[in-house]
């Protein structure tokens, strides 16, 4: 068994198993936690709480008018690299074929050359994001190992992917194996680090919004 066979065979199996197990574990452990009973009388109906929660998901996804000058650039950066990541992961033909081999579903991709341009742009934005995290005193204070490691492992996947596509360094077979191994590593890390925000972000915003709406506040 060579490195590529290992990466997309046993290593991928273990990574997918750990990913599924970890995500299910953390989501359920979080969802089934008991929320302390609020003994105050609700300011509004349950319906208002639910709509308040849903509205918060939208309102928190956009910079607040009052702070747009300070947070707008950061949010634009965040949106841009997330869109780039989604485009590369979901619209690159080899990725589509890989996902088809796993799940049996397929869709149309973008030309490889366009994906290469998007990848390089996303990589640049990713470096900018790290620069912002390191140079901004507040963000630096809020950041811990989890933030930097999650950044590193995502970056590793992107760099190895670009190297494999562009045949930089060594043979395509080895580069592809290293790329898939880095994806395996990301899948293993995913449930236990801040990458879990992909699953938590909308439910936590909705819950926050619903609790605040119960108190009559909008968020």
């Amino acid at each position: 068994m060579n490195l590529l066979d290992f990466a997309r065979g046993p290593a991928l199996k273990v990574a997918i198993a750990v990913f599924c197990l970890g995500v299910a574990w953390r989501i359920l452990a979080f969802a089934l936690l008991r929320i302390r009973r609020d003994l105050n009388r609700p300011r509004d109906s349950v319906f208002k709480s639910i709509t308040g929660g849903l509205l918060t998901v939208g309102s928190r996804s956009w910079p607040h008018r009052e702070f747009i000058g300070r947070t707008g650039a950061g949010e634009a950066l965040g949106y841009s690299y997330h869109i780039g990541l989604f485009a590369v992961v979901l619209l690159f033909t080899p990725h589509i074929l890989f996902l088809r081999s796993l799940f049996g579903i397929t869709w149309a991709g973008l030309p490889s050359s366009l994906i290469t341009v998007i990848s390089v742009l996303t990589l640049t934005l990713f470096i900018a994001v790290l620069f912002r995290r390191v140079t901004n005193p507040v963000m630096r204070m809020l950041s811990n190992f989890d933030d930097y490691f999650s950044w590193f492992i995502t970056m590793l996947v992107m760099v190895t992917g670009i190297a494999a596509t562009a045949h930089i360094g060594t043979s395509y077979e080895t580069l592809l194996a290293v790329h898939i191994l880095s994806v395996d590593a990301l899948l293993v890390w995913f449930p236990f680090g801040k990458l879990m925000h992909a699953f938590y972000i909308f439910p936590s915003r909705a819950l926050n919004g619903a609790l605040l709406a119960r108190k009559g506040a909008t968020s």
Binding site: G9, I16, V18, C20, L28, P94, S101, L102, E173
Partner: protein, 372 residues
């Protein structure tokens, strides 16, 4: 064909056949060009060969289909006849030689004795070791015994074809004959693997010629293949590569993409992970190669190519063991089982957490009661 090496230099042999020095240099230059060597190597190769005695070569066939030898006979540059009549002394080959039975075995024994330590041993086919080697025997001896004996006096061993280089199809799961590649049997001789199912004829003759003319093993990759022929992937040199970069793929063998000559990647082409010279040297005197005739590369020059799932599964596909093609169902089963295990853990974690929360609330309530 000679049954034993004649003590003539290659130059003397050429003169006997009426081939001029100039003609021979042209032949060597053409061969050097085919091997992507610098032009001056051709003249040096010619000079070296002219003054050398024709080296003895023995071609032993074991567990194989003779496809590799069929391929070798179709070499255009150099041709098999020019190679065996002018450059090497092919002292044993059970497919070509007129002798048979005891005469053939005697020819092999004599050639091995006379050229001990100097001959090139070419091996075609894997070596079965099951049933004490009984799956492949000739002249009352098993392939494994013949190989061990012949290897003792070899200057180098050239493994022609994926079977002798990596085990090939006989080595594929479940390997009923206990087949092995030459590298698993012989460990103390220089080994050059010329893999392929079959290998490109010019790659076989070119490798032999390079070793014979220089007396040195060429630069080899990690699978002991000459880098000059196996240094690039087929994908690197494929004329359909621009379509890959543009994202234009044939989706079936009879769609518009296939008719337009688009990339065969989605149809399972193994070009990106296959090292060989098919896209440059091509086959049948440079006429075509499998991708040019509309079928994806099978990856036949790579180790274990037979056990790597479907030939028609796209390259980056997940592999789920030797059992066959990637199966979405197996991925879903694996993911489903992991999600179920994770759910149990999640419920248990939440339960423990609730229990702790309940206890701490009880303790707080008790504490408040006492204070009151």
């Amino acid at each position: 064909m000679p049954l034993a090496s004649e003590q003539l230099t290659v130059g003397e042999m050429l003169l006997r056949h009426g081939i001029s020095r100039r003609g021979f240099i042209q032949f060597c230059t053409a061969t050097a060009t085919a091997m992507a060597l610098p032009p001056w190597i051709g003249a040096a190769m010619a000079e070296q060969l002219r003054n050398a005695r024709r080296p003895s070569v023995m071609y032993l066939s074991f567990q194989e289909c003779t496809g590799c030898f069929e391929s070798l006979t179709r070499s255009f540059s150099p041709t098999i006849e020019s190679l065996i009549f002018n450059v090497i002394s092919l002292d044993y080959d059970d497919t070509l030689m007129a002798a048979a039975g005891d005469q053939a075995e005697a020819a092999l024994a004599t050639a091995m004795k006379d050229n001990f330590g100097k001959y090139v041993l070419v091996i075609d086919g894997s070596i079965p070791t099951g049933a004490a080697g009984a799956y492949c025997a000739s002249g009352g001896r098993s392939a494994v015994d013949t190989l061990r004996e012949a290897a003792k006096g070899a200057a180098a061993i050239v493994c022609v074809g994926t079977c002798s280089a990596f085990g090939g199809i006989p080595f594929a799961d479940p390997n009923p004959t206990g087949a092995w590649p030459v590298t698993a049997i012989v460990g103390d001789k220089p080994i050059i693997n010329v893999s392929g199912c079959p290998p490109i004829p010019e790659v076989i003759t070119g490798t032999l010629l390079q070793f014979v003319s220089t007396g040195r093993v060429p630069d080899l990759d990690e699978h002991l293949r000459p880098k000059v022929f196996f240094g690039n992937t087929i994908h690197d040199r494929c004329y359909r590569r621009p379509f890959f970069d543009e994202g234009k793929f044939a989706k079936s063998f009879d769609d518009e993409g296939a008719r337009n000559g688009w990339c065969l990647y989605e149809l399972g082409c193994k070009g990106p992970t296959t090292h060989n010279a098919c896209a440059t040297i091509k086959w049948n005197g440079g006429t075509s190669f499998p991708i040019e005739s509309g079928h994806g590369c099978l990856g036949c020059s790579e180790p274990g190519f037979w056990d790597k799932g479907s030939f028609y599964a796209a390259q980056p596909s997940a592999e789920w063991g030797k059992a066959g093609a990637p199966s979405p169902r197996r991925a879903v089963e694996l993911g489903g089982a992991a999600v179920a295990a994770g759910a149990v853990l999640g419920v248990a974690s939440a339960g423990v957490s609730r229990l702790r929360q309940h206890r701490s609330e009880q303790e707080a309530a008790d504490h408040d009661r006492k204070e009151l």
